[in-house]
């Protein structure tokens, strides 16, 4: 069996205790590809433990988050989602289904049922970037000669020594970005709130702007304006288990067939999810078929998938346009 290296498990009953345990057990030195983790946080474990089995991380201490029962709470103009909420809970929750339907859809499409019962929304947001040349065993990576993201100096996807393009592959993140979610982070110095839009950067081996040791405790998602419509499409080979090969989140406020606000976020192609730019010109007037085609072409233009998974990047790129078009057609038709 693929085994985990030895470590100690520490249970934290509160966020503060977790942060203290993390620092007390050596925290981390360096960041990104050069980080040496003495301690790491463990939530659902569905991403971290396979990565540990692959010897991508070899922490000496795992701070297991056994926080008070996580909740989803209506706070008036926003929903508070505790980071420890399980993905299946999110998918099934009446409040999420009623107020943020595309988030329920995205959470319900993560992996398979078991992983949704284990994995948390916090873990999904902070998911490590993924790549064919990275998510492999130690011996496999040795045979490869390692890669830029871990122990090596060369990206085998782009064929270069500088840029790592391992992809942020969360299902929920494109939707949360489109919905302008905010995050509450707890560190030794106290709490802070950041926009999810500020969390990611285009660097596969250091894609999070977090300070190491900061713990994600809550997400706040503003309640959408009246006329909200949203859509999440996940491209995957199988109907279960798989990570997205491409994801398309479309949200916005509509009056009849006229979008008043529109957000499109493409995921699973780059280290950073891709909010599509330049949508304003279609706002405030009925969206025609030509308009939909033009937006789809814009999405296609701005989508640059990399060969970080098995499969044809050009085809995935083409699909970004196709699924955007279908999403807009569906959302426009929802006015009826």
């Amino acid at each position: 069996m693929l085994r985990m290296p030895e470590f100690q498990v520490h249970r934290a009953r509160s966020a503060q205790e977790a942060v203290e345990l993390w620092h007390g057990h050596g925290g981390a030195e360096g960041r990104g590809k050069d980080a040496v983790w003495s301690a790491m946080y463990l939530a659902g474990g569905t991403d971290l433990l396979p990565n540990i089995k692959h010897r991508l991380f070899t922490p000496k201490h795992l701070i297991s988050l056994a926080l008070p029962r996580p909740e989803i709470v209506d706070e008036g103009d926003s929903l508070r989602i505790d980071a420890g909420v399980k993905l299946q809970t999110l998918a099934d929750h009446p409040l999420i289904q009623a107020v943020l339907p595309p988030l329920a859809v995205a959470a319900g499409k993560v992996a398979g049922p078991q992983i949704r019962h284990m994995g948390t929304i916090g873990g999904n947001v902070l998911l490590d970037t993924r790549c064919l040349f990275y998510n492999q065993t130690e011996s496999w990576r040795q045979a490869l000669g390692y890669c830029l993201k871990k122990e090596g100096t060369w990206c085998h996807v782009v064929g270069g020594p500088k840029t790592c393009v391992a992809a942020q592959s969360s299902d929920c993140v494109p939707v949360l970005l489109a919905l302008d979610a905010r995050l509450r982070l707890v560190g030794l110095g106290g709490e802070r709130e950041v926009s999810l839009r500020e969390l990611y950067r285009y660097n596969g081996f250091d894609h999070l702007t977090l300070t190491p040791g900061e713990l994600l405790t809550e997400l706040r998602v503003p309640k959408p304006a009246a006329g909200f419509r949203g859509h999440y499409h996940k491209l995957r080979t199988r109907g279960s288990i798989d990570f997205p090969e491409l994801s398309v989140a479309v949200t916005g406020a509509w009056e009849g067939d006229a979008p008043q606000a529109l957000e499109i976020v493409i995921g699973a192609i780059n280290p950073q999810p891709k909010p599509v730019r330049g949508l304003d010109e279609w706002l405030g007037r009925p969206l025609t078929d030509e308009g939909i085609d033009a937006i789809a072409a814009l999405v296609h233009k701005q989508t640059r998938p990399q060969g970080s998974i098995i499969g044809d990047p050009d085809w995935r790129r083409a699909m970004a346009g196709v699924f955007t078009r279908r999403a807009l057609q569906e959302l426009r038709a929802a006015s009826a």
Partner: protein, 936 residues
């Protein structure tokens, strides 16, 4: 250091000593002995380790035991209660939802979580809820049936009833349970990795990071010095080469002077635990001289290509990388092609794929103080393993016992000896303690022996009325690093194409080439699935050219029962037309083929497959299969047979046949199989030989015993033997049917009359095959036939192909247990359609496998596996037991071309390369559109 963990499991609190870095799966299996939770993929991709945590399904392999304090864990062992198995477990048993049974504990727990939450799930909810549990045997069809039955409510106390037998039979033809399915459903079945022995060490194998390299030196001192290491083994200690085909030994247990693929075994370690063994592997220093690699067969054939094997098995220098070459021709192909009204010529490529049984290979070896080796192994060929262990270890076969425990799927992937079996045995000898080696999932991909990639150039010609005049085939086979069954593969790639569609002339060339990749071998439908794809697609194109219905062109050329194929194989029975009739009717072919809207289509294809091969792998005059049976005073029968039940149900088959002959109830028949100390030889579960051959042997033994039961009763009743009849559970006077005696009492009478009751039966192969060199390869005593219709929808904007439904008709001769036959058909369809639409064993330029795990190598889940409707066609075969033929491999073949032909019907493009990925389909649609516009 271990710490004490209080853990609630199945309603009891345990104080467990666990390491902090142990998964819940390790704690359950290795500390609590709850081995019902299975380990399949190492890291959360397969679902075999599913348990319930506070009622919710979770993956035990990705849960730390140390984080489970305070949770209520339910394993498969906790699902049954004092009233017996849970209704879901009963339903899995009743419906035949368990084949190998390895994925089912996890599957049943996911089903339980679903029904507890949602007692009447919709079809979509059901598929979704089981989506995280991969099954490789069943095609999910009978699993869905079982969960639906459980949802309806099932009396958990009710005995499992047998359906109605075929007319004139006591048992055969009835839908019945598999011999061991309730044990599998309750987690009681013991697979190889479930066995632990006192003082047992754990072995690990060091593998090559290079596709091709010379080993200059191996230094093991540092590994040997590591505390907890018992023994280190290198290739020079086991220098005898081996191969499942005794003529072509080109492999050693561990590489000696060269490694030939990334993953080739180099050294092995036995240590106190796996963690220590892994640390020791890292301390072994191997000095490699990296050599140029030939990864693709085209490269391996170039002038100046690196020689992968420098000498052949006789020590003669090799000139090239050709492993085996065959060229045969029958009739005047060139003249017939020239005279054909329509000719189709093309190049097809069949991608490699692997078996991916959910159980990884595992072997456990121990020597007793007298030097007697016992090896438990997840093998489907205990007899061949027994022979090769003897050669490689230098031990007489009398000093070796091979036992195959319950097997978690095989599909051809466990049909020859593997490095772990030799290493476990040799390490055990060296360390003087039991040694177990369990492959990681990645190692399963390296050991491979899966489907050969084949590049096929094929030309077909037919008369205007569709009569097939000529087939010309040229096949390049990518063999990987070693021979395996290569000689047989090379023949099968040509020899098995000549039915059920007859042809007036045929010529084939096939060439298997060594490459620096994991070795290919026999995957379900060995050697013939690939050319069948090319041929059945070509036939469809011929029908199109000739404006014939694709079913009609196949009917027109159907081989008849008792006819010889163009290459001289006698086909005693064939049910092609009945199969075609069935799928034509049930699919609504006449009303729908060619008439569905753009994007939706139907396709047909057919095939023929062997029921065993004429000759054993090593030449001998002894039977291919033997059965011993004993009856005792308890009223029970014990059947001994070397046959391997790999999930297909051969243990049950033996029981049904003995029940049929003797009238003893199937539940009173114990089957002891695949243990070389206890069971007479059967050659193993390959080439679809088991039902035909072991079944015949069982029939003979059963008939002899039946005669003694009749004789015992006739003697006691002072009646002529002809007046005594045998019924299920009793014997009776045919003239006075009210006069009955139980089977058990009949055994007492027979033992009194004849002494202890024991009988034997055997299957011997007649001389078969064409009268030419190689004519016996592909010769079988009987052939099954199959026809499938597949319905697909193709999204013309994305290229995504959805297989909507499959109608599968298979002629298996007499269906001894139709439920098991259906299971074989459904599983075959599933495995074939997976190859057609998604599976690919793909490599990087340097020979590195691109996804040796069950996340990147995708096998279909319950969500995208279509409904499969089976038709059993019973063309009674004159040679088979009660007329039975094979059902386990034939039904895989037609689904790939049927899907390709359906895609053509849907969107008008011909795909000649599998898998039919959306990108390929979309590109083909684009090219067709461009060509259409250009021609305007």
């Amino acid at each position: 250091m271990k710490t004490i963990l209080p853990l609630r499991v199945n309603g009891e609190t345990h104080e467990l000593a666990v390491h902090q870095h142990w998964s819940l799966l390790e704690a359950l299996r290795y500390e609590l002995g709850l081995t019902g939770s299975k380990q399949g993929c190492d890291k959360g991709d397969c679902g075999a380790c599913t348990v319930l945590r506070d009622g919710e399904p979770v993956l035990a392999c990705c849960t730390l035991a140390a984080t489970c304090e305070g949770s209520e864990i339910t394993t498969i062992e906790g699902v049954a209660d004092k009233d017996g198995p849970h209704p879901i477990q009963r339903a899995f048993d009743v419906c035949g939802a368990l084949q190998c049974g390895f994925c089912q504990p996890g599957m049943i727990l996911s089903a339980k979580a679903l029904l507890d939450r949602c007692p009447q799930p919709s079809d979509e909810q059901l598929r979704e809820a089981l989506g995280g549990n991969l099954c490789r045997c069943t095609g999910y069809t009978k699993i869905f049936e079982a969960v639906r039955l459980a949802a309806k409510g099932l009396d958990r106390q009710s005995p499992v009833r047998y359906g109605e037998p075929a007319e004139g039979f006591l048992v055969l033809g009835a839908r019945g349970r598999k011999a061991d399915s309730i044990q599998k459903a309750t987690g009681e079945a013991i697979y190889t990795d479930d066995i632990t022995l006192p003082r047992m060490a754990h072995g690990k194998i060091l593998r090559s990071p290079h596709a091709h390299a010379r080993i200059r030196a191996i230094r093991t001192e540092r590994a040997e010095a590591l505390p907890g290491v018992y023994a280190v083994l290198v290739g020079s200690e086991l220098p005898t080469p081996y191969c499942v085909i005794p003529w072509t030994p080109d492999e050693t247990a561990l590489a000696i002077d060269k490694v030939r693929y990334i993953g080739d075994a180099v050294a092995a370690v036995a240590a106190v635990d796996e963690d220590t063994a892994i640390k020791a592997l890292a301390l072994i220093e191997v000095d490699y001289e990296v050599l140029p690699a030939a990864v693709e067969p085209e490269d391996a054939l170039k002038d100046g290509a690196p020689l992968i094997h420098e000498t052949d098995w006789k020590g003669r220098p090799r000139q090239d990388n050709v492993c085996k070459e065959v060229a045969l021709d029958f009739g005047d192909v060139d003249a017939n092609l020239a005279a054909s009204a329509a000719v189709v010529s093309g190049e097809w490529f069949y991608e490699g794929s692997t078996h991916a049984p959910i159980e990884p290979h595992c072997a456990l070896a121990t020597f007793n103080p007298d030097g007697q080796l016992t090896l438990w192994s997840a093998t489907q060929v205990p007899h061949y393993l027994h022979r090769e262990l003897s050669r490689v270890l230098g031990l007489p076969t009398s000093k070796i016992r091979v036992i195959q425990p319950v097997l978690g799927g095989a599909f051809g992937g466990k049909s020859e000896p593997f490095d772990l079996e030799f290493c476990a045995a040799a390490l055990s000898r060296k360390a003087n303690r039991p040694v177990k080696i369990l492959y990681t999932r990645e190692e399963v991909f390296y050991s491979h022996r899966g489907r050969h990639p084949m590049l096929m150039k094929m030309t077909l010609g037919a008369d205007a009325d569709g009569a097939l005049k000529a087939v010309d085939s040229d096949v390049l086979i990518d063999g990987g690093a070693y021979h395996s069954f290569g000689m047989v593969t090379t023949y099968y790639a040509g020899q098995l194409l000549t039915g059920p569609v007859d042809m007036a002339s045929y010529r084939f060339k096939s060439k298997r080439v060594y490459t620096n990749k994991p070795c290919c071998g026999p995957k379900r439908g060995h050697g013939s699935v690939q050319p069948r794809f090319a041929f059945e697609c070509g036939l469809d194109e011929l029908a199109e050219k000739l404006k014939l219905d694709p079913i009609q062109i196949r009917r027109k050329n159907a081989l008849q029962s008792g006819q010889r194929t163009v290459n001289g194989q006698l086909v005693p029975s064939t049910g092609l037309n009945a199969c075609l009739d069935a799928v034509e009717r049930s699919s609504g072919w006449k009303e729908r083929h060619g008439k569905l809207p753009y994007g939706r289509g139907l396709g047909v294809a057919c095939s023929m497959y062997i029921s065993g091969t004429a000759y054993p792998i090593y030449p001998n005059e002894m039977p291919q299969s033997a059965v011993q049976v004993k009856a005792d005073r308890s009223g029970r029968l014990t059947v001994f047979c070397g046959a391997s039940d790999i999930g297909q149900g051969s243990d049950g088959m033996l029981a049904y046949i003995l029940a049929e002959e003797t009238g003893i109830l199937p539940d009173d028949i114990v089957v002891v199989s695949s243990d070389t100390d206890l069971t007479p030889v059967d050659l193993g579960a390959y080439s679809s030989r088991v039902t035909f051959m072991c079944g015949t042997a069982a029939q003979e033994a059963g008939r002899k015993l039946r005669q003694k039961l009749i004789g015992g009763v006739a003697g006691a009743w002072k009646l002529p033997e002809e007046r005594v009849g045998v019924a299920l559970g009793f014997l009776y006077d045919k003239d006075e049917p009210g006069r009955q005696i139980s089977s058990k009492d009949a055994i007492w009478l027979a033992e009194a009359a004849y002494g202890p009751l024991g009988e034997v039966g055997a299957y011997r192969t007649r001389k078969l095959g064409g009268d030419y060199r190689g004519g016996s390869i592909g010769a079988s005593p009987a052939y099954s036939t199959t026809a499938h219709v597949a319905e697909v929808s193709v999204d013309p904007e994305t290229g995504q192909v959805t297989v909507e439904k499959v109608w599968a008709a298979h002629d298996c001769g007499r269906a001894l247990n139709p439920q098991l036959v259906e299971g074989q058909i459904e599983g075959s369809v599933y495995m074939g359609l997976a190859e057609a639409i998604m599976e690919a064993h793909t490599f990087r330029e340097g020979g590195l496998h691109l996804g040796p795990n069950l996340l990147d190598y995708r096998i279909p889940t319950s969500v995208e596996t279509p409904d499969i409707l089976t038709h059993i066609i019973e063309t009674i075969d004159p040679g088979g037991p009660y007329g039975a033929k094979e059902a386990g491999e034939g039904p895989l073949h037609p689904i790939i071309p049927a899907i390709a032909n359906a895609i053509f019907d849907a969107v008008g493009v011909r795909l000649r390369r599998i898998p039919f990925t959306p990108a390929r389909v979309l590109a083909a649609i684009g090219q067709a559109e461009a060509a259409r516009l250009a021609s305007k």
